[in-house]
């Protein structure tokens, strides 16, 4: 094929390609908005307090508390022994 023919074809490719990329992603924009509105309509974002709170508050498990308590006792003992 002549270079000019190739150039014409690649110009066409550019036009078709950008058209399809934009077309496709525009449809995806529309569908995503539609999807979000449907989801939020039927399943509004719950505050999910039950799931959030423990993470912010209860980071320390009972085992940790127990272990630490024991460690503190141990620590005090050591302190006493070494006469610190």
């Amino acid at each position: 094929m002549e270079i000019t023919d190739l150039l014409v074809r690649s110009g066409q490719l550019m036009a078709v390609g950008m058209l399809v990329v934009f077309g496709f992603l525009s449809i995806l924009v529309f569908c995503t908005k539609l999807l979000s509105s449907l989801v939020l309509k039927y399943q509004p974002l719950a505050p999910e307090p039950a799931a959030e709170l423990p993470a912010s508050e209860g980071q320390i498990s009972p085992q940790t508390v127990a272990a630490i308590s024991a460690a503190i006792v141990q620590y005090r003992k050591d302190k006493t022994n070494t006469g610190e």
């Binding site: 150039l7 074809r9 390609g17 950008m18 990329v21 077309g23 995503t32 999807l35 974002l45």
Partner: protein, 376 residues
């Protein structure tokens, strides 16, 4: 003794061709860039090492029976390795920012102009004596502008396997160079005032939206662009596994051990295409040049699109985030954030740039599908 003579005749010293020495230097350079300059080391360490192994005189790595031969044939010429990587990348990707602001997809679309303009440019280069790129070659080269490694390797393995080495090296090198290539273009095309624009905080996105989004993307790809479904499908599978929450052990494996294993072999396999006779050509110079142009045009068109959207949209859109549309996740988004902070130290654009950034991945997978369908 005979033995010593035989050994001597088998040594590298006795058999080196200049091309092999040069290619080993190229491999060494890639290792240097990866290790000392942190240029996409996950890929460039195995690629660089693979390049060295490939060019060992008498090493036989890329002949039938050689390790790299098996790796390339099993994983790259079949397209399986880039697709597994893409699944793993999907399992690491959070589409939240994009779902919260889906218009960002248009920035990912605009940045693909880098691909198609480069395709035109690669063909135009044929006017220079010494270049004879076919449409297939030009398409595989142009995909460098997609700024996405697995996409580039996948497309090159289908359209122009003999150029795969140079294309992959260019793609990963320019991705590493994003912090150098993009800022001047971004600054040239925007005013101080535009770079200052603050954007509204993104809304929270529900788990259901995150689960349905990859399925919606897949559905549209099936309807309109089946040629993109290998890439988009595997990406969406990874993302669905991550978001659905019920197969955590699969998504974690896909995003960690599996992608790591395949990355090593993908890199070695790409390196196996860096033989002297394939890489030390005039075409490689053209590919490196075109790749830089592709990245630049993609960045520019992303920024310009963002400017247009800012003008016509009700929301404020900082044009800088358009540059993230080339993908190069997450480097491009970080560059956007950095340039934004230079203009306005209180303006954190990172989350806003993640939207166009992942949109760019989808955009280049779409572009790859178009090229496969029309040129492949």
């Amino acid at each position: 003794m005979d033995g010593l003579m035989t050994l001597w005749q088998s040594t590298g010293l006795a058999n080196f061709a200049l091309g092999q020495v040069l290619m080993m230097a190229v491999g060494g350079l890639l290792l240097y860039l990866a290790i000392a300059k942190n240029f996409e080391p996950l890929l460039l360490v195995p690629i660089g090492f693979g390049a060295i192994l490939t060019n060992i005189p008498g090493g036989g790595f890329t002949e039938v029976g050689g390790m790299l031969y098996y790796i390339y044939e099993a994983g790259i010429s079949t397209g399986v390795f880039p697709l597994i990587i893409f699944m793993g990348v999907g399992a690491m990707t959070d589409f939240g920012a994009l779902i919260a602001n889906p218009k960002m997809l248009l920035l990912g679309a605009a940045a693909q102009f880098g691909i198609f303009a480069t395709l035109f440019g690669a063909i135009a280069l044929n006017f220079v004596p010494g270049f004879e790129f076919s449409l297939q070659d030009a398409s595989a080269i142009a995909i460098i502008g997609g700024a996405d490694g697995p996409t580039a390797i996948f497309l090159a393995s289908k359209l122009a396997p003999e150029l795969l080495g140079a294309i992959a090296v260019a793609a990963y090198s320019y991705m590493a160079l994003v912090p150098i290539i993009q800022p001047p273009i971004m600054k040239a095309l925007t005013s101080e005032q535009e770079r200052n624009i603050e954007m509204a905080q993104l809304r929270e996105v529900s788990r259901t939206e995150k689960i349905l989004f990859p399925l919606a993307v897949l559905l549209l790809t099936i309807l309109f662009l089946p040629a993109s479904t290998p890439l988009v499908g595997m990406f969406c599978l990874g993302n669905l596994m991550k978001e659905c929450g019920v197969v955590e052990r699969l998504s974690k494996t896909a995003a960690n051990e599996l992608i790591n294993i395949v990355t090593i072999f993908l890199g070695l396999g790409v390196g196996s295409k860096l033989s002297a006779e394939k890489f030390l050509t005039f075409e490689t110079l053209g590919i490196l040049g075109l790749g830089a142009i592709a990245f630049s045009i993609g960045t520019a068109s992303g920024v310009i699109m963002a400017k247009i959207m800012n003008r016509f949209s009700s929301d404020n859109i900082n044009p800088l985030i358009g540059a993230a549309g080339v993908s190069a996740v997450p480097m491009a988004a970080r560059v956007v954030n950095k340039v934004g902070l230079q203009a306005n130290p209180h303006n954190f654009l990172l989350m806003h740039a993640m939207g166009p950034n992942v949109a760019g991945v989808l955009g280049s997978a779409v572009a790859a599908g178009i090229l496969l369908a029309l040129v492949g």
